[in-house]
Each structure stands twice: as structure tokens, then as C-alpha cells.
């Protein structure tokens, strides 16, 4: 813990013993009060950045918003003090909050696309707070906004303000929102996961722009995120939160390099899963050859001439950003989207183009796990039914024999037979995904397609799922087609890698070959955009790979525009 900082000069924000509660209304039950934040204290000096980090439910956004006296829904501050610029803002009442919001403290939301009013032009929204608080004339405010647009690397800074939110890309909107927060020259900005919704190559540009803007304007910031590698690039100090309590608070370098708490250590070392790459076998299990697929009767080509192989008991990771066609590849392999051209061969025999053409045995050999486990299971079936159905359907197992096998499978996914009568709604996110894994294992498949299976989960839970999948692969000799947007995951589990970009495989081979330079331009951009867990990475990468932030931003925005077909 930091020393008592009351005496420090230049203190901007001093939160003491903050306690935040909310009233929840569970369906069919009496309303109850839960505590979201327990006794949290923090201080922030002028011009410094404090990163708030934690998994979902850690209370990081709630704490961030409390510095503006704001609580979402039924959330309210029930204890402690929030001292900003020397006064307790909680004593100021509604009028006090209004004077402070948009003037002393501004907010940058996760989804800028939803945070801008669709009915007004960007410029009107950017200067609104400045004009409201009367700190500048309209002409001055607009001049300031244009300068900020320029600094943040937006294209056409003079005219972009005349556009409507829907006319601007997601990465650009996030920059405009940062400009909006900076425009009224506040003392503090709360950044709430500002780059989480963006693709990784877009994220790096926005992140660099935010970092520069903070440095040049000397504004202080609370930077909220779940991604330690991201926060390590922009903050001076990091506070790790869990279940609304402070786990650890210290300098960025100390938290990353010498974490003192076990939980922090787990977060820092989360990607260090060891997986020895296996050499490809003689004959592939699944062979995709020159597959082309399209939606809308051939109008929108989403897969172009794709060829990959998966070997028995091995993992092929397909990596790409949104719109790259990686999930479409899975749909083409499963027969949900019959390819227009090309063939898919499985275990030496060609697979039927359409789902309806495939014999039951082929369906059994090829199973699938989804990203959102909670909609991948029928909410009206018990875990026993969900896992038992494939046993009954493929192997004709009934009664006690089936129950016994379900119990074995529950053991394999480290859950135990106590869960057999539970419904999906009674499980945690990680448990749901485990049940989905058990359901696919029940069919005794040779290949499982994993479509972003960890991206909806918290870091540590996702890590547990990856370890489980690797263990199961060793025992059951099952092959995986692992679809993901996250290079860190790829490195942990893959034997071979296919990089996809706009429907094409741009790089393909064994893991060691794909990750070895020289790279093609896209893989280079993708690899260099993945934040690394060390302070100073962003500054290095910017100097070595792409010096011009604005250029990099344009490149990624242009790419997204092309990829989304607009």
C-alpha cells in the first residue's frame, strides 16, 4: 500500500473508505441490497494516470463513476468521501455534481458508438459541455476541438465535426470521444475500457493517441480496463481490484515485474501456458481445399480460396480480426454454410457439402463449442440432459449406463456429478463452457471446432478452460480447430497457425514457422499490435514499427472500412 498521502502537494483526487451499494431485483424474489465496493481508498496526483484493473464484478467502473458522483441504475454511494480539488463532492448535492461533471471530470465510455447521440452532429456534442459550463465561446471551443481532432490523429480534422456519429468508424468515434472529454480542459478524465471493443490493430492507434493526449494536456486520468498489458502502457500506478476490494496498489513497474499478491501474480502470468509444438503427422485428419463461400446468394464473398490441414490430435489456430472470415470457415466446415467451391475431406473421405447430406457418423466425429456458452445450451434442460443427449443419440445409451457416463464426463471437466440436476442458469460462466466441452466430448469426436470459446470469459477463467482443453487433448487424442482473435491464446495452444484477413489465409504453417520473421505486412501489423505485458512497449513499438500514429490509425480504419464492405 502507498503511504498516507494527505500531506502530498498537488493532490487532485482523494477517495477515502468508499462504500457503494446497489439494490437488485431478482425475478420472483424480494429486492435485496448488495455491496459493490467495500472500503476502497485511493489518491491521484495532478497529471498522473492511475490504472484500475480487475475482472468483471471487481467494481472498477463503479469506482471510476463515483469520482463524478454518478451511479448507474440503483447504484449509490453509501459511505466514505470523494475529495476532488480539496472538497468532498458527495456533500455538493445534485447541483454540485452538475457543476463538476463535464468541467472538472469528464468520461470516456467503452462504446463510443452508443455514447454519441445519433441525432446531433459530432461537433455540437464535442463542444456541448464546454459551452454549458461557459468556459469558452463557441468559436474558441470549436477551434480547440479541431486542434484536438488533429492531435488524436483523426482524418480531415477541420470537417469531421460536421459528420453524424453513424458516418464515422468505431476507432475514430473513440478518438472523437476522447477529444470531447479533453475539450472542456478538465482536471480528470475517467477512461472506462476505451479500447476494449476495438480490433487489436485499431486499438494500438487509439491507445497511442490517448497516451499522447494525456501527456500533452497534463490531464490526470483513471484508466479502467481488464487488460493489464494495456494499462501498463499508459498508467503511472496500477490498482488491482477484486470483488470490490483493493488487492494491491503500486507503481506500474512494481505491479508488472514484482507483484506482491498471489492474485496479481496470477493476472500477470496468465498467458504463460507451456505447450510443446507437435510436428505434423503423415496424413491430415481434416483437409480444406480451395474453399470459397459467400452469403446472400454469392454476393458477399466471405471466404476466398481457403486451404488448411488439421492433423490428428493437434491444434490448428485460425486467427484474425472481425470480418476476417474465421467463423465463416467453421460454418463452411460444419456444413451450415455450404461452400460454393472447393472440398472438405475428413479422415480420408469427402464430407457432404450440406449438413443434411452428412451421415450421422460424420456428424459425431466433428463437434463444435461456441463463444457464448449461455446461449449454446437449452435453458430448459438440465446438465444431465445436455451432456446425456449425445450419448443417447449417437450410442443409444439409456438409464443408468448413460448417467454413469455423464458422471464420468463431469469428472473429466473437473466439475463432479453433483451438477447433474442443475440448470444452465445456475452455473457460472466458466462452468457453462465446461459443460459445453463435456457435451462435445460425449460424442467421442476426432475434431472439435472451438469458436472464440474463451473470449467472453474473464482472464483467469479463460486460462482454466485453455488448460482443460490441452489436458483433454492429451488424454482423448482429439484435434482442435481453434478460432480466435487473440494472439496470446494462439501462442499458448497451437501446433499450427493460419492467419486470416478479409476472407483469405495470408500466412499458414507450423507455429514456429508462422511466428518467425520475415513477416508479411498484415501479420507484422497484427503481431506488433498485440500489447505486451511490459511498461514502455507502446513507446518502443511506435518508434520501431510505425512512427506516425495518424498514419497507423488511418491504415487500420481504412482496413475496417474495407472489411465491413462499406
Amino acid at each position: 500500500m502507498m503511504a498516507d498521502s494527505k500531506a502530498k502537494p498537488g493532490l487532485l483526487l482523494d477517495i477515502r473508505n468508499l462504500r457503494i451499494e446497489a439494490t437488485v431485483y431478482p425475478p420472483g424474489e424480494a429486492p435485496k441490497t448488495i455491496t459493490l465496493v467495500h472500503d476502497v481508498s485511493l489518491t491521484l496526483e495532478k497529471g498522473k494516470v492511475l490504472g484500475l484493473i480487475g475482472e468483471s464484478g471487481a467494481g472498477k467502473s463503479t469506482i471510476g463513476l463515483s469520482s463524478m458522483g454518478y451511479g448507474r441504475g440503483g447504484v449509490r454511494i453509501t459511505g466514505g468521501e470523494v475529495i476532488l480539488n480539496g472538497r468532498d463532492i458527495l456533500k455538493g448535492g445534485k447541483e454540485g455534481f452538475r457543476k463538476l461533471r463535464g468541467r472538472e471530470v469528464c468520461y470516456v465510455a467503452q462504446s463510443a458508438a452508443a455514447a454519441f447521440n445519433p441525432a446531433h452532429r459530432l461537433m455540437d456534442q464535442v463542444v456541448e459541455a464546454t459551452l454549458l459550463h461557459g468556459t469558452a465561446t463557441r468559436a474558441e471551443a470549436e477551434k480547440r476541438a479541431v486542434a484536438l481532432f488533429k492531435k488524436l490523429g483523426l482524418p480531415n480534422p477541420e470537417t469531421i465535426g460536421q459528420r453524424f456519429p453513424h458516418q464515422v468508424s468505431g476507432g475514430q468515434l473513440q478518438r472523437v470521444m476522447t477529444a470531447m472529454a479533453l475539450c472542456s480542459e478538465p482536471d480528470l478524465i475517467v477512461f472506462d475500457e476505451p479500447t476494449t471493443a476495438l480490433d487489436v490493430t485499431t486499438q494500438i492507434g487509439v491507445l497511442a493517441a490517448i497516451k499522447d493526449a494525456i501527456r500533452d494536456t497534463h490531464v490526470a486520468a483513471l484508466y479502467i480496463t481488464h487488460d493489464l498489458a494495456v494499462v501498463a502502457q499508459v498508467s503511472n500506478e496500477i490498482m488491482v481490484l477484486r470483488h470490490g476490494r483493493v488487492v494491491e496498489w503500486g507503481g506500474t513497474r512494481q505491479i508488472i515485474k514484482e507483484p506482491r499478491q498471489e492474485y496479481t501474480n496470477a493476472l500477470v502470468s496468465v498467458h504463460e501456458i507451456e505447450h510443446q509444438e507437435q510436428k505434423p503427422g503423415a496424413t491430415p485428419l481434416l483437409s480444406v481445399r480451395n474453399v470459397t463461400a459467400a452469403y446472400g446468394g454469392g454476393h458477399v464473398k466471405v471466404l476466398k480460396n481457403v486451404s488448411v490441414d488439421i492433423f490428428p490430435g493437434q491444434t490448428l489456430a485460425v486467427v484474425g480480426e472481425s470480418g476476417s472470415g474465421k467463423s465463416t470457415l467453421a460454418r463452411a466446415i460444419t456444413g451450415l454454410l455450404p461452400p460454393e467451391q472447393g472440398t472438405v475431406t475428413f479422415d480420408g473421405r469427402p464430407l457432404g457439402n450440406k449438413l443434411a447430406d452428412r451421415p450421422k457418423e460424420d456428424l459425431r466425429q466433428l463437434q463444435m463449442i461456441y463463444q457464448m456458452a449461455d446461449v449454446a445450451m437449452n435453458p430448459r434442460q438440465t446438465v444431465g440432459t445436455i451432456i446425456g443427449r449425445p450419448l443417447e443419440f449417437y450410442f443409444g445409451m439409456k438409464g443408468r449406463e448413460r448417467d454413469k457416463r455423464v458422471a464420468e464426463l463431469l469428472d473429466e471437466i473437473e466439475m463432479g456429478k453433483g451438477f447433474i440436476d442443475r440448470y444452465p442458469a445456475e452455473l457460472s460462466g466458466g462452468q457453462k463452457q465446461r459443460v459445453c466441452i463435456a457435451r462435445s466430448l460425449a460424442a467421442k469426436p476426432k475434431l472439435i471446432i472451438c469458436d472464440e470459446v474463451t473470449s467472453a470469459l474473464d482472464l483467469l477463467v479463460a486460462n482454466g478452460i485453455l488448460k482443460l482443453l490441452l489436458n483433454l487433448q492429451q488424454h482423448e487424442k482429439v484435434a482442435y480447430l481453434f478460432i480466435t482473435h487473440d494472439f496470446a491464446t494462439v501462442k499458448s495452444i497451437a501446433d499450427s497457425i493460419a492467419v486470416m484477413y478479409r476472407g483469405e489465409v495470408v500466412r499458414y504453417g507450423s507455429k514456429s514457422k508462422v511466428l518467425m520473421p520475415p513477416f508479411d505486412p498484415y501479420t507484422d501489423l497484427l503481431l506488433s499490435s498485440v500489447p505486451e505485458m511490459r511498461p514502455g512497449w507502446l513507446d518502443e513499438i511506435r518508434d520501431s514499427v510505425t512512427t506516425d500514429v495518424a498514419k497507423m490509425a488511418e491504415m487500420s480504419d481504412e482496413r475496417i472500412r474495407l472489411a465491413s464492405g462499406r
Partner: protein, 318 residues
Amino acid sequence: MSLVFRLVAQRIALGILLLLAISVLIFAGTQILPGDVAQAILGQSATPESLANLREQLGLNDPAYIRYFHWLGGVLTGDLGTAMSSGQDIATSIKGRLWNTLFLAFWAAIVAVPLAIILGLIAVRHRNGWVDKLISGLALASTSFPEFFIGYVLVYFFAVKWQIFPAISTVYDGMPFGERMQAIALPGTALTLGVLAHMMRMTRAAILNVMQSVYVETAELKGLSAFNVIRKHAFPNAIAPIINVVMLNLAYLIVGVVVVEVIFVYPGMGQYLVDHVTKRDVPVVQAVGLIFAAVYISLNIIADIAAIIANPRLRHPK
């Protein structure tokens, strides 16, 4: 602007097409169904000769599609045919009645629409408070009350017990405006009450939906006052859904007119329709049914056009 224009033109064209389809449906509904019109008019005891005569007179021996085009051609040139029961020209009889019905519906709407929007805003302002609960309760009741229940309760108290307004709404040509307003006071109130609560509840839902969006939170976090958040950020986005609510309820009001006119013996389209359904006067039923459908479809088109014009994505395409 051209995109909006194209969409509006498309919507209107679609509406005209729909109206044509409806005319086919109404015609088919009255002509091809098992009941024979001539038999229905003359009753079971009619002689075969008189039946044949009437069929000839009505043109029932022509194929159905010829009769349809004949009818449609008439409708398009303003000739709605002749009533079988009275032999009068339908267009002439309808003119005054249509005006009476629109007069009644107009004044009911003038009262109901602003009242519903204001009460809806109040419900949002005090959501989950007693005002809001009261409004929800009234809405539940009003969807459960048949129009004639509201109508006769009004008559029982305002016309019979307290004798403030007439129980029977007689209007005639050249009637002074004040007297006319007094005559439609009770039917107008019955119509208003019929749609008010529902419209209120839908308005409330439309505004709440907008109030829960992230951009309203952004506005609050800029320090805007509650009033300005609603005025500058919620209202511009709530206009289209509110217009939609209003149009839907006006369409509902048109249906309510039928029953209310019968209750108060008001000489409008609704009463005219019901009278002639009882008399099985098919040409009248067809004509009046088509007019009601046209009004109903027009209101829906207006709602859709308002939604198109209010959408910034369509007004300022990429």
C-alpha cells in the same frame, strides 16, 4: 435527401398496392363467400323468379373478376354504387356522415393526443412512483373495458343523473359550432377514454426506451440538467416512436368510432355501416369498409414516413 425521398415514395407506393389488395379482399369477402347476396336480401321464402330477377339486376351472373373491376372503376371515379335497401346513391349519403365522423374523431384526438403525451412524460418523470402505478392500472382497465361500458356509464351519470349533456348526439347541417360541440361531448369523451391510457403507456415506454440509452448517460455526465437531457438528447430521438404511438392509437380510434356512434346514435360512418350490415346491404358495406381501410392504412403510412424522416441515418447517409 434523395434517399429519404426514395424511401417515402416507396412507402406510399406500397400503401397504394396494399389498398388495392384490400379492395380485392373486401370484394372477395362479400361476393365469393357461400352466402348468396340475392338469397340473403329476399330471404328463404323468395320465389325462384324473383331471385333470378334480382341476380340479373345486381349483375350477379357476370364472373366475379368482371364485377370486381366494374366496382373498382366506379370507386376510383367517385361512384360508390347504389344502396340496395333504399336505392339511394351511396356517395351522396356518405358525404355528410364522413364529415361527421371525422369531426368527432378529430376532436377526440385533439384532446387525447396532447393529454396522453403529457401524462406519459409525467409517468416517466415519476417512474415506479404512485403516479406511474396509477397510470399502469388505468391502462390495464382501459384495455379491459368494452367501449359501450364507458359510453353508458357516461350517459347514466352525465345525461340522466346530472343532465349536463344530451344522451343522444343529434347533429344537423348548419348547426351552430357551440351546440355541435355540446352534442359530441359525451361520444368524444368515450373515444378519448378508450385510447388515452393505452397511448399514455406506449408513450411512456417509448420515452423510457430512449432514456435508457448510453448517450443519455453521456449527457448526464456532461453536467446537463434533467430538463436539458430530455429536451436536447432524449426528445429528438423519441419523436419518431411517439408519432408511431399516436398514429397507431388514432387508427384504433377509427375502430372505436363504430361502437361509440351506435351508442350515441350519432349520424356518422360507423352507424351507417352497422345499419347496413344488419340489412345485408352489400354495396354499402363494401364502400364503407374500403373507406375505413383507406383511413387506417393512411395513418400507418404517415407513421412510417415520420419514422423515415426522423432517422438521421437515412437523412444523412454515409
